[in-house]
Amino acid sequence: VSLLEREVDLAVPSELNPEDGYVSICGALLLEGQRWEADGAHFIRSTESEVWGQGDDLDDAVGDFVNHAIELSHHLATQILQGDATEHETQVHALLAERLADIMATVEESETRRRDAAIQLLRLRRRRFREANTWRPAPRSHSRPRSLV
């Protein structure tokens, strides 16, 4: 093993030496956590709740982590509605619901910005190509066929 390979190996976070970070959606924080690689796969564990994710690559692990957070939030909401939630479950649900609501607001804001930009672009193009938007009579050869009657 060359020195370079050894350095690369050391840089890969392991379960004993994980990398601290957080999972975000559209720039909004979902949960803080730690990630590492093992068994040829990627793992992310939240340091704020029991949410975790796994996958063949990091994107896959992030996707599984996000799914777990959404499924747990839904599961806890059901427990609360049924009156079966513990104090801790209520706290975890409050945290997840707040973060997911912030994410929804961020996504909505970003969608609105994108839509406004598209409308603005359309208006500019219409102004620029206004002259092109004219009626033009068809050439004689393409005119309506004469009646055979």
């Binding site: 379960e15 029991e50 796994q54 427990q79 513990t86």
Partner: protein, 116 residues
């Protein structure tokens, strides 16, 4: 442990959580409610990821069920719901309530022992 699949884990977890076996395949999060050693109502929510079972998946599962990794085979194959509830009831609420808290607790204990 190598032969475990998400489906076989769902079946084992359904038995351990006392969930209706017919609903096991639709359930992804299994809830086990216990009374902690300090008398508080606590619950452990275990999620089975639908894709693959890696060795680390099983380590995580052992951690969530608060059992040693080498005990996991026995737990998944033989333990009853009552056995798991009795096992979990030995722990105080601060250990059962949150996995991150339980991990911080273990790290704290290990650091304290190292300091001694």
């Amino acid at each position: 442990l190598a032969s475990r699949t998400p489906k076989s884990l769902q079946t084992s977890l359904a038995r351990l959580a006392g969930t209706d076996a017919r609903k096991a395949s639709e359930t992804r999060i299994f809830k086990i409610t216990v009374t902690s050693s300090d008398g508080k109502k606590c619950s452990v929510n275990v999620r089975i990821s639908p894709k693959k079972v890696y060795p680390t998946t099983l380590k995580q599962l052992a951690r969530e069920l608060r059992v040693e990794f080498d005990q996991l085979d026995d737990v998944l194959d033989n333990w009853t719901h009552e056995q798991l509830v009795a096992h979990l009831s030995q722990f105080p609420s601060e250990v059962l309530d949150s996995l991150p808290a339980e991990e911080r607790f273990r790290t704290f204990l290990a650091d304290s022992n190292d300091a001694k």
